[in-house]
Amino acid sequence: MANPEAKSGSSLIMPGDATSTCWSCGTMRAEHFCSACGKVQPPVPVDYFTFFGLPRKLSVEVTGLEREFYQLSRKLHPDLYSGAEAREQQWSLEQSSQLNDAYRTLKDPIKRTEYLLRLEGVELEEQSKSATEQARASGQVKKQVVPPDLLEEVFDLNMQLEELRMQKKLGEDDPSLIEEIGRQKLELEEKHEALLEELKRDWTEWDHAVDSGSEEERRKIRDKMVDVLNRRNYLRNLVRDVNEVLESGS
C-alpha cells in the first residue's frame, strides 16, 4: 500500500520548479545553466528524473542518458570554474555531485525502479511493519510478501551453503555437494534474469499509465514492481553468497 503522506514529507519538488531565474543576467529561466548567458546555476533540489529533464518513466534510453551525462559533466566540471567567483565554483561542485548521483541511480535498472517507487511514496519497511501490526491485532498470520516456496528454497540452499563452509574449513569438501550447489547457482541466475525481464514488462505498463492511467492502475503496477523487487532481493543475496562460498579457499 502506498502511503500518500510519504510524498508530502519529502524535500523533492515538482518538475515545474526545476527552472529558475538566472542569478547572473536575471532574466532567463534556467536549469543547469542559464540559457541566455550560460552561467552555471545554483543547484535546485529536484528529483533525479527532473534533473535530466526526464518524465517519471522507467523505460529509460540509457545511451541517450549517458550522452547527456558526459556532456553535462564536461560543462559542469569544477576545473572549468577555477577562475570563477567562489559561489560559481561551489555551484559547479554541487551540480556535479548531483549529476553523478542522478546518473548512477538512473542508469541502473533496479536502482532506477527503487528510486521511482520511493518517489511515489512506497515505503517497503513501513509496509512490512504495519502488516505485522495488523496480524497482531486480528490474531491472523501475516501474509509473507514472497511465495512460501521461494522462502523454502532460500532456506534450504543456505543450509547447504553452511554445510559446505563447514566442510571447507575442515578441508574435506564433498564434490557432490559442490556440484549440487553449482547446479542450483545456474538456476538462480536464470531466475534472477527472468525477474529483470518481468520488471521491464512492468515498466512498459507503468510508462503507459503515467500518460493515461488512473491512480488505481498506477497503484497496481507499483505493487507488481514491489513484488518483483522483493523476490529479486532474495535471489540476489543468494547468488552473492553462493559465489562467495564456491570461490572461497578452493
Binding site: 519497511e125 497482531r136 532474495y234
Partner: protein, 143 residues
Amino acid sequence: MAYSDKVLDHYSNPRNVGSMDKNSQEVGTGLVGAPECGDVMKLQIKVNPQTQVIEDAKFKTFGCGSAIASSSLATEWVKGKTVEEALQIKNTEIVKELSLPPVKIHCSVLAEDAIRAAIHDWKKKNGSANANAPVPAGSQASH
C-alpha cells in the same frame, strides 16, 4: 554500527539453535523472510497438546546479528508460555530488550512474524477449532 551487549551475547552464544521434525503433530514451523535485506528465519515450537504450553523451541536464522539475536531471544521467551500467551509477544518488546537501533527494527519484526507463523502452523495441524484464534475485543476482523 555498534551492537548492544545483549545482541552480542545472543549472537555469539545463540540459544536453541536447531530444528525439530516438522511433520510431528506437536510441532509448529514458521518460515519467514525480510525482503528488504533478503534474510530468512525459521522458528519451530513444540506444544504440549494437553496444556497448550510451548515446551520447546528451536530456530535457525540466516541473517544479520540482530535477526539472530531476536530469534534466539524469541525462542527463550516462548518456552514455558501457552500458545495464547506467546501470541502476545510484540516486536517492540524485543527491540527494547536488545536495544535495537531503528535500522534494525525489521529484524525484530521478523522474529514476531516467525512466532506467529509457527503458532499458526501448529493450530492448522491441530484442528481448525484452534486455528480460529480468538479475536481481541474491539477488533472487527472477520476470518
